[in-house]
């Protein structure tokens, strides 16, 4: 085999392993008998480890410089062959690594977190299936299969958010997540329809050199609707915080590190389809989301919701970066965010998990996710605290942490751009970064440091199987994941130089924000109430309800009324009319037609009776009538 064919062989084989190992994990989890449920967490984690190994083989063979494309016919549609294939470029390769690694760590963590759960098999089935479909999105070379996986991750997300089905809020949140994503998917389908009509293919690499003949902006905006729903962009963002009703490892994997990043990934993959006008919309939506998310994070008290809004906000930053053309920077932020946000969620999960056990043993009940009920956990849970701080620092973009480098990459691109738009964007970007630091500080402060005197008693740290993934993610939040130089984003993933001003401004913002938080947030003994506009996320749900849910409900009852009153009404009317007509005809029949007949009959019988009276059988009468007859005859003749 030639070296090239050899590499191609390894790439395809590794891709298959990467894709099929998580699927096999899901299927295996379904097949294991209920009695051996505990086995599931072992097999699933092992299969994911296989997937990680496959990903490493894939990336080491594919490299980061080439784009490789393999496909095979799937089915023929109207004379057009629809292929199924894989397209590995730099972004896909990195994404495969991120997804498999985070997924493996979350599987491992879940082994501890979900131990003893009655539906642990279903949990691992869906977790494996999710990983499979997510990798499908990443590797697929055409938009149709990508869309199929896109919908399927929505399904696994639905099942995992609703994992604890008996909780009404989980049931509600899972439906909401699926519905909002479905609305976005309509945009995806519209985009597919446009692409198919204008280009006749779904193949991404062919589409890159294909014009959509005047439909570019429409198609781009259609796809962006789907991206906005999946990546929780304004205004389709409220499902993500609600999705926190699911188990925390799920929040880490799906609603922070991977699935919600699928939108950003797709935006990167079909970036060539976005004309400048569409990119302006993308940028505006991204900035609005970044700010909305960061502001809302300041207004909430639920530890997971704060992290969720933080995710919304960070996704907004990635979308903004893509809108401004900073593809590398956006993907770098996706990468760093995946690790530090997953770390934050797993650490939050450790707190929730531990305090639940404390609650069970002490019999006290309070909302363990409400940061007003927490505080002083630093001493009790030192490992969790360190991981949380490491990842939180990365989120805040503090130097020496990965988040700093990726944000610097975005900011550098913005500052090197032309026109006042870039400056406005850069200003809003910095504002978001500022808010991010404040809410992260607030979170860490109230969970770990405030109420130092609070007696938690002897709380155990979480088991090693949960601590290990947290520690890995904490370490992955440090600078070396991006580049050996902590102040440069130029490393294995992307090259470029930070503009000096970007570095200086970033550091200045960090210092100001830290100072502000230290001075103001710290002062309050407990977090005070926030304005309603923040706790209600700018009333987006209410607007959505008034504009979509309620009108659809009205329309729905209107349709039932039309069915019952008008369509069936006309039908019944016609039936009644016919029956009435039948009655009238019957009446006519009986009274008039039969009447005449009866009348004639009666007349005849009356006449007969009358005539019969002449024939009385009385001789005298006969003679009398005969005499009368003769008399009349004589009279007639004479006159």
């Amino acid at each position: 085999m030639s070296p090239d064919a050899d590499i191609a062989y390894w790439i395809v084989a590794a891709s298959m392993i990467v894709l099929l190992a998580p699927l096999a994990s899901g299927i295996l989890s379904a097949l294991i008998p209920v009695r051996y449920s505990w086995l599931v967490s072992l097999t699933a984690s092992f299969m994911l480890l296989v997937a990680v190994a496959g990903a490493v083989v894939l990336v080491s063979n594919a490299g980061l410089h080439d784009t490789r494309h393999f496909s095979t016919a799937w089915f023929t549609l109207g004379g057009n062959e629809i292929a199924a294939g894989i397209l590995v470029d730099k972004y896909a390769a990195v994404m495969v690594l991120v997804v498999t690694i985070v997924s493996f760590l979350v599987h491992l963590y879940s082994a501890g977190y979900m131990a003893g759960d009655a539906s642990i098999r279903r949990y691992f089935v869906m977790l494996g299936f999710f990983t499979f479909t997510m990798l499908g999105i990443v590797l697929s070379d055409n938009l149709l299969i990508l869309f199929m996986c896109w919908e399927l991750v929505g399904f696994s997300s639905y099942m995992l958010i609703g994992h604890w089905m008996e909780l009404p809020e989980a049931a509600q949140a899972s439906r909401k997540a699926y519905m909002m994503n479905r609305i976005g998917d309509l945009g995806f389908i519209a985009g597919l329809m446009i692409v198919y009509r204008k280009a006749g293919t779904f193949d991404i690499s062919i589409l890159a050199s294909h014009s959509l003949q005047g439909w570019e902006t429409t198609a781009a905006l259609c796809f962006f609707l789907a991206i906005a729903a999946k990546s929780a962009q304004f205004p389709l963002l409220t499902w993500l915080p609600d999705a926190m009703a699911g188990p925390t490892p799920v929040s880490a994997l799906i609603h922070a590190a991977t699935m919600v990043a699928a939108g950003v990934f797709l935006l990167g993959r079909i970036h060539f389809m976005f004309p400048p006008e569409a990119l302006q919309v993308v940028t505006a939506a991204g900035l609005l989301t970044a700010l909305t998310g960061a502001a809302a994070a300041l207004g909430h008290f639920d530890i997971k919701k704060i992290l969720a809004y933080s995710t919304v906000s960070q996704l907004g930053l990635m979308v903004t970066a893509l809108g401004m053309g900073a593809k590398d920077a956006a993907m770098l932020h996706l990468l760093t965010h995946a690790f530090f946000k997953a770390g934050l969620f797993l650490a939050a999960g450790a707190i929730i998990h531990t305090l639940h056990q404390v609650q069970v043993s002490t019999g006290k009940t309070y909302d363990v996710q409400d940061i007003r009920n927490l505080g002083g956990l630093r001493k009790a849970m030192p490992v969790t605290f360190v991981v949380f701080v490491l990842c939180g620092a990365a989120l805040s973009g503090i130097p020496m942490f990965s988040g700093f480098q990726s944000k610097e990459a975005i900011l550098s691109h913005m500052l090197s751009g032309q026109g006042e738009w870039s400056l406005i964007a850069a200003f809003l970007f910095l504002l978001t970064a500022f808010l991010t630091i404040v809410y992260t500080f607030r979170l860490i402060w109230f969970v770990f440091i405030a109420n130092e005197g609070r007696q938690w008693g002897n709380i155990p740290e979480v088991p090693f199987v949960m601590r290990f993934p947290m520690i890995v993610l904490g370490l992955a939040s440090l600078w070396w994941i991006v580049s050996l130089n902590p102040f440069s984003f130029s490393g294995w993933f992307m090259t470029g130089r930070a503009t000096g001003s970007a570095t200086m401004i970033s550091i200045a913002v960090v210092i100001t924000a830290l100072a502000t938080s230290f001075l103001f947030v710290r002062k309050k003994p407990t977090p005070t109430g926030a304005p309603g506009i923040l706790t209600n996320t700018f009333y987006l749900d209410n607007v959505f309800g008034a504009l979509v849910t309620r009108p659809v409900g009205h329309l729905s009852s209107l349709c039932v009324r039309i069915d019952r009153r008008y369509i069936d009404g006309i039908l019944h009317g016609a039936a009644y009319a016919q029956v009435t007509l039948a009655h009238i005809v019957g009446w006519i029949d009986k009274t008039i037609v039969d009447g005449i007949v009866n009348f004639v009959a009666r007349l005849a019988s009356w006449l007969g009776a009358f005539v019969r009276t002449f024939q009385s059988g009385n001789i005298q009468m006969y003679i009398f009538w005969a005499g009368m007859g003769l008399l009349l005859l004589t009279l007639y003749i004479v006159t």
Partner: protein, 525 residues
């Protein structure tokens, strides 16, 4: 032996129905076994038919053709009716679907205890009539089978139905009768105008002859080159309209759909299954086999209307389903919505759209069978199908819940299931069409969101949340699926999954048909 395979397929159940008359009426097991045995043999015959279909060539295969009768009608010329059977890429999948669904319905019918003899006799007659309708290529023969479906159905609903069975069965009967009359009028027009090639005096019901515009008597009502106008509209448009409305009632299409929810709600589960999975398909089949190919000119000029009604059905059906309180009624309305895609697909007059329409017919046949069986499972246990009366069922009926998830998500178009393939093909075709307006395809996509809305809401209300049961039912009655039920659901779930992942399996048959169909439409005008 398999020279007359279609005849065997059709008349085997008739023979069995005759046999059933000799079985004592208290031997219910015999009837069940007889019915299942017939369906099983039909299954084997279908497999043979599929194999033979693959070995033959041409558009129409497995042809059986012989003169049936000939009548001299004096000044009306002479009438020639043929016993003409054959299948193509449209009818073969539908016949396979019929046999498959009949097997499932046969298993499901084991719960019927009242009047078993009559019930199974009617089922067998229905079986023959449905397959006959799909195989007949002579209008008179088709009409005969078509009408023959009506009576067994009327009695199956009217005798074995629920509380309002009489209302439902009469409504069903009247609606369908109206449709039949419209179709009959069009057929008479076709008979008067069409003739055997080369002999203007011999009139014919042969669909293949009537597809060819040169086989019409010059100057007759429906002569494609004629100039007959009725109310300012060409006679061919009227004839197409008659056929369209006639078959659309069967489909059913909004606003001719209100027989469907009532018939479904009242009918026993297996009858609902047959009604939704097979009888509705006759409507779509009639449009694709008769209305469109015989009047391509009229069809193209009126396609905007077909497409519009398709979209109205999709949206309207979904909205009404959303407001339904009875699970079975919800499913019935979802059928209205899903059959709208069939109309939209064929109206597009593109290969994708037409393939999608046929794919949707098969896929809906399988999925809706699951859905009605699901409603039946609940009704068998508690006699109560009100959605609001249940909550948290997932916990006590886990297997049932998995089946519900599969069926609901398959029906709402989740990729990986057959419904997705069908719907995406319809969308792509409709948007690519030059015949109907692009906005129709865009509006139709809303049906996907509405579909998800009513199914997910149902899941949330019935299966999520804390377990409790209101009304007359109690939780003890709610046992999980038994073996017989699992046996019914397993092949259904497998097929919708297989057709969702390997669409080429079915497209191998459908696509050539769609190609011929589209070239007939666009080339024939």
């Amino acid at each position: 032996m398999p020279d007359h395979i279609l005849t065997y397929l059709i008349f085997l159940p008739v023979l069995a129905a005759f046999l059933a008359l000799f079985i004592p009426r208290d031997r219910s097991a015999w009837f069940r076994v007889l019915n299942l045995a017939v369906c099983g043999v039909q299954g084997i015959l279908t497999i043979i038919a599929i194999v033979r279909y693959g070995s033959e060539t041409g558009d129409l295969r497995l042809i059986e053709r012989t003169e049936w009768f000939s009548l001299n009608l004096g000044t009306w010329g002479s009438l020639r009716a043929e016993y003409f059977l054959g299948v193509d890429g449209l009818s073969l999948p539908l016949i396979a679907l019929t046999v498959f669904v009949m097997i499932i319905a046969g298993i499901s019918s084991w719960t019927i205890t009242k009047g078993v003899k009559g019930y199974f006799t009617l089922m067998l007659i229905l079986n023959a009539a449905v397959i006959g309708s799909f195989a007949a290529l002579d209008l008179l023969l088709f009409y005969l089978f078509f009408e023959f479906m009506l009576l067994p159905m009327f009695f199956l609903i009217g005798i074995w139905g629920g509380k309002r069975r009489e209302y439902a069965s009469i409504k069903f009967f009247l609606y369908t009768l109206c449709g039949s009359i419209l179709i009959l009028v069009a057929f008479i027009g076709l008979y008067i105008s069409g003739s055997v090639p080369g002999d203007v005096a011999t009139h014919t019901f042969n669909i293949m002859y009537l597809r060819d515009g040169s086989n019409y008597v010059p100057g007759s009502v429906l002569d494609p080159s004629g100039t007959w106008l009725i109310g300012g509209w060409s006679a061919r448009n009227w004839a197409f309209l008659l056929l369209f409305v006639g078959f659309a009632i069967k489909l059913p299409m909004v606003p001719f759909h209100t027989w469907l929810p009532d018939a479904h709600v009242e009918a026993p589960t297996p009858v609902s299954v047959i009604l939704a999975a097979l009888l509705l398909k006759i409507g779509g089949y009639g449009l694709l086999r008769i209305a469109y190919p015989l009047f391509p000119d009229a069809a193209l000029s009126l396609s905007w209307m077909v497409g519009l009604f398709g979209v109205v059905s999709i949206i309207y059906g979904a909205l009404t389903a959303m407001a339904s309180k009875d699970l079975k009624r919800l499913i019935a309305y979802s059928s209205v919505s899903h059959m709208g895609y069939v109309l939209l697909g064929m109206a597009s007059a593109t290969q994708e759209g037409v393939s999608g329409a046929v794919y949707q017919m098969v896929s809906h046949g399988v999925i809706t069978t699951m859905l009605f069986l699901i409603a039946g499972v609940l009704y068998d246990r508690t006699n109560d199908r009100m959605i609001e009366n249940y909550s948290g069922l997932a916990r006590i009926m886990p297997v049932y819940f998995v089946v519900v998830l599969i069926a609901f998500f398959a029906s709402l178009g989740l990729p990986g299931f057959s419904g997705f393939i069908a719907e995406i093909m319809v969308f792509l075709g409709a948007f690519r069409s030059n015949v109907i307006h692009l906005s129709l395809a865009i509006i139709a996509t809303l049906g996907l969101a509405l579909g998800a809305a009513y199914y997910l809401w149902t899941i949330q209300r019935m299966f999520f949340g804390k377990l409790h049961v209101r009304g007359a039912a109690s939780t003890e009655q709610l046992t999980d699926l038994d073996l017989r039920e699992k046996v019914m659901f397993l092949p259904l779930a497998a097929i919708t999954l297989i057709l969702g992942i390997f669409p080429q399996l079915l497209l191998n048959y459908i696509d050539p048909f769609a190609l011929g169909f589209v070239s007939l439409l666009t080339g024939g005008s």
